[in-house]
Symmetry: C2
Subunit: 340 residues, 2 copies
DNA sequence: CTGTTAGCGCGTTCAC
DNA sequence: GTGAACGCGCTAACAG
């Protein structure tokens, strides 16, 4: 196996080969017009022939820019079963595109930067120019402290009036309202809510759901709200409780598509039909939603735009500009799980 | 908003504050025992009080090690619909853990390193110490050329005798055999195959399926093999073709769980029951598989171990050790979609 | 045990 | 237009 080691080639080598100084090579490769057109051409050709590439590390050190963005995303493993909501992969894809478009690298981390037990904060250790955090962590205070201490940070999550950092996210309250309103318009009145309201985004979706009920003059039944975590297995369990308690209900608003699917499984195992017996609407519009059986009616978050907005805001902050939070409009996608 | 800028603190600053030389600070922070216990303690405390962190960029330049691993993963968007097989997220999570365990960073890229149109190869531009490539690309020749030119690379994929790079993956042939054998043991004989056999891994699963048929003395019907891509939408369409052609079949072996789920949707839309009318087995054991309705019988790839094996092999190669490819044993997970 | 010196690979003044 | 010198922040070799 032939072993090329072009990585050992340095700018000085190219300079020597071209019979010019390092400075000239540097300028030529940077496309500076301070260098004669013909020498520039000669140098660039020589460099590419030698498969030379500038050492980004050295360049970063000199320029004090790493051209990399850190993305912190809470993909965690639970026992043997992983919580792997497709939402995260979609978001990751969107971010990867937006970051690559700006010619930067993406550093992926599962651990929030304030958890200093492992590697230190990428921002202060000079490994990244900015940080995107997906989701307000369970420890809100730590997130707040971090965003206060560093300006090159944006976060994806729910909007609250008391947060003063830049946050990008969809209008969860409106999303919840849309879902419940749709269910109500179909004549459903006993709508169960499945989702962990201790999470900011879910809390807002729940609030929107309550508002829709109120607007429709339908009394909300506290007993129909289930604090189900974003985990298929436990969502399934929660749905079973709903059934076992023999509560009267004709619809389910699930805080995520994964929860919705798990609930539908539980229902069908119990012999109940969706949408005939109960209507179900999910949240996220993950890929599987359209091809589930029945196809899932759900609230779409336009993750693509979300990722782009996050990256745009972050670069603005890196450039010292002021940024406002952005609220993306959710969209109700009507398919078959509601029967209309 | 108070703006700390600890990132501007340099080692020289700490040295000055402590009244020692930079070298001593460097040694102290590195935990070297060449420095007196008490001065070391004084320095580390001073540093952490000042919220100083070593600049990793400068350190990398000096050490010629970046402590970061590039992961190339083909998460692509198709029109409006993304191909986001949960498999990738699971793999990403496993890799993130294995890489973090070794105190390294993870650079995520969607573009293979040989596509030089955008940023250059992270390996030669000194942004990463090694590369993990998920999946043999459609351009096998480019992958081969790349692996021949660089030694610090491992790839996840299918094993073929003619490949001479280090490859980690599960035994796809055996997986396919397991799935088909299970179906046959249930008395199913007309087993359709749904999967894109132009992909190496799928091709092997198909071969295993054919072997199982032969071992059982059941004639394979070429007409039952469908070249379905790994995309929910198109898998759904493929399943419909199967139905529309009114082919006689009593089972489906799908090359992925996503395909299996799509197929089940198509079947149930057509009024066919799973597993009563047709048995279905998938591949991957993604999270949703267990909570799907019916719960999916599938072949599990133990992605967790796969990720660990990839990283272990890569670090071995980085250290100059020779590495052999590793084949992980797949496991049949029996649930309800086969009726047994 | 500690300080001094040197240089990792590059971009950028400032001369010529 | 081009080159020489300097330094980004750090670690390692060499003295002492």
């Amino acid at each position: 196996m032939r072993e090329n080691k072009p990585e050992e080639l340095t700018m000085a080598d190219i300079a020597r080969m071209a019979g010019v100084s390092e400075s000239t090579v540097s300028r030529a490769l940077a496309g500076s017009d301070l260098v004669a057109e013909k020498t520039r051409k000669r140098i660039t050709e020589l460099a590419s022939a030698a498969e030379y590439t500038v050492n980004e590390g050295a360049r970063s050190l000199r320029l004090k820019k790493t051209k990399t963005i850190e993305v912190v995303i809470p993909i965690e493993q639970h026992h043997r079963h992983h919580i792997s909501d497709p939402f995260f992969l979609d978001m990751l894809g969107a971010l990867a595109d937006a970051i690559a478009d700006r010619d930067h690298d993406m550093l992926l981390s599962k651990i929030p930067p304030w958890a200093t037990d492992k590697r230190s904060n990428a921002l202060v250790s000079g490994r990244a120019d900015g940080v995107i955090i997906i989701g307000q962590s369970p420890r809100r205070d730590q997130l707040r402290e971090f965003t206060h201490a560093h300006r090159r940070v944006v976060v994806w999550g729910a909007h609250f009036d008391d947060e003063d950092y830049t946050i990008v996210g969809s209008d969860n309250h409106e999303g919840g309202r849309l879902a419940a309103a749709h269910l109500l318009s179909l004549g459903r009145k006993r709508i169960a809510f499945l989702g962990d309201v201790s999470q900011p985004e879910i809390k807002l979706r729940h609030a929107g759901y309550l508002d829709a009920l109120q607007q429709a003059g339908v009394a909300a039944d506290e007993g129909l709200t289930f604090k189900a975590p974003f985990d298929s297995q436990e969502a399934f369990a929660a749905a079973k409780i709903l059934l076992d308690k023999k509560l009267e209900f004709d619809a389910i608003f699930a805080a995520s598509d994964v929860i919705a699917m798990s609930a539908i499984s539980a229902l069908s195992n119990a012999g109940m039909k969706v949408p005939q017996d109960v209507s179900v609407v999910g949240y996220d519009d993950i890929v599987g939603a359209a091809w589930y059986s029945p196809a899932l009616t759900t609230v779409s978050q336009s993750i693509q735009e979300g990722g782009e907005a996050l990256v745009r805001s972050l670069f603005a902050r890196i450039n010292g500009e002021a940024t406002a939070s952005v609220v993306l409009p959710p969209k109700l996608i009507i398919r078959q799980s509601c029967g209309a």
